[in-house]
């Protein structure tokens, strides 16, 4: 429980995917996915729509089975594994509850499934999100449905908690509430979290590890701190910019009259930094979100070279 608080490294893998592929008919959704999610850490699962994020999460939670390869969660095969039910919580977009189920019934059901269920935390979050406990789940708005998922995900205190775009319909204030509550929860009781999201800027500082899927493959799997600062924007007179970026990996270049802006995959030494300043160039780091965007927006030929950058 004090693992994270001591700053010690994670104790072992909570989730392992080995050579995982999933095809539906002739469509390949996932291909050759090798991944390890360490225990007690917060992982970001990033990528464009259709990259295979939800399919991967479904395989990890035993809702589906890989066509090839294998998945291990907390040491076991998640598919039809009763023993894992109370230890893994999957907060997904659409949860089907019985027709007459009210919010309080959903919470009572969750309390039965998860042995570490924290009823006080659930009540507190319910209140914070202003969720009406007597309303039937079916009649909740998109945002309220998301909020209910978030409440259950956090109060479950499950060893492995996976969130699949849990913010749909939540406004900025409610999303902040979620992030703050998540931080508080993992501070109190570290657990393995996988957060699939498009709002990378918002969760940037929460993530320890980043996995980017692209067309069903792992494009990037690295420490968040390594990805941040793995790219750099150089702005200045185009001659100087080109001279400076000449032997570096160029991700993007834009020009405006005599000015140029180049994004390069590079980490500079103090000397290089001084040289750039001497050339009158402005350097600025590229945030995590922009790194991911340039990775997943690049053509595949560029991507292959990029893949090596952060590791």
């Amino acid at each position: 429980m004090t693992g994270a608080a001591d700053g010690t490294a994670a104790s072992g893998p909570a989730i392992v995917a080995h050579g995982v592929g999933r095809t539906y008919g002739s469509t390949t959704v996932l291909e050759d996915v090798d991944l390890t999610f360490e225990e007690g850490r917060v992982h970001g699962l990033l990528g464009r729509n259709g990259a295979g994020k939800t399919t991967l999460l479904r395989l990890l939670t035993g809702l589906d089975r890989p066509s090839t390869g294998r998945v291990r969660v907390l040491g076991g095969d998640p598919f039809e594994n009763e023993g894992l039910a109370g230890r893994v919580c999957f907060v997904k977009e659409s949860v089907v509850y019985p027709e007459t189920f009210r919010v309080r019934h959903a919470l009572r059901a969750a309390a039965l499934v998860f042995p570490r269920w924290d009823a006080d935390r659930a009540a507190e979050l319910l209140d914070a999100f202003a969720l009406p406990t007597d309303r039937t789940v079916k009649k909740l708005s998109r945002g309220m449905t998301s909020a209910l998922g978030v409440v259950i995900g956090l109060a479950s205190r499950a060893e492995v908690t996976l969130f699949d775009e849990p913010y749909l319909g939540l406004d900025a204030t409610a999303r902040q509430l979620f992030y703050d509550a998540l931080l508080e929860e993992i501070g109190e009781l570290p657990r393995t979290v996988v957060l699939s999201t498009h709002l990378i800027d918002e969760v940037d500082h929460l993530l320890e590890r980043v996995v980017v899927l692209d067309h069903g493959r792992v494009l990037l799997d690295a420490e968040a701190d390594e990805v941040r600062g793995s790219a750099l924007e150089v702005v200045g007179a185009s001659g100087a910019v080109d001279a400076f970026v000449a032997d570096r990996r160029l991700l993007r270049r834009e020009a405006l009259g005599p000015l140029a802006r180049a994004t390069v995959a590079a980490r500079l030494t103090a000397d290089e930094r001084r040289r750039a300043e001497g050339l009158g160039l402005d350097l600025s780091p590229v945030p995590l979100q922009q790194v991911v965007v340039s990775l997943t927006g690049a053509r595949s030929a560029d991507v292959r070279t990029l893949e090596e950058v952060p590791s």
Binding site: G7, L183, D204, H205
Partner: protein, 134 residues
């Protein structure tokens, strides 16, 4: 608050060190817990813990079992020494570079520094310093 280019744990360490440097966190005083800092800065607790571990390794903080983290005696002087070494590169060199671009020589710089220090001591207003620079 957090600059995107550098590892966040290093920035957290720097921030805590900054608080030690200006006396916000006094020597032998207790440092907020990892969880408190995590909530306050909205940063993963493991990242905060890594930053604290860095400061422990540097001798700025020390751990009292079961109680928490404290600022070491002599931490402030040690940090001052470290930061003075970096002061030229991080502050003076860019200042001189920009002055050069603006056609300001060493004498102008000396005069401006005196003016700003004087204004800072007298009124503390940045507006006045800017006016004086004209």
């Amino acid at each position: 608050m957090i600059d995107e280019g550098r590892p966040i744990f290093a920035q957290i360490a720097e921030r805590i060190a900054g608080d030690v440097l200006d006396g916000t966190l006094p020597e032998e005083g207790q440092v907020p817990s990892t969880t408190e800092l995590s909530a306050f800065y909205r940063i993963n607790p493991a990242t905060v813990a890594k930053g604290m571990a860095e400061l422990v390794a540097q001798g700025v903080l020390y751990k009292r079992r079961g109680i928490g983290m404290f600022v070491s005696t002599g931490a402030r002087a040690r940090l001052q020494e470290q930061r003075r070494a970096a002061f030229v590169d991080e502050y003076v060199a860019p200042l001189v570079r920009e002055a050069h671009r603006l056609g300001l020589g060493p004498d102008d710089l000396a005069r401006l520094l005196a003016e700003v220090s004087g204004a800072g001591a007298a009124a503390g207003g940045p507006g006045r310093a800017a006016g004086g620079a004209r």
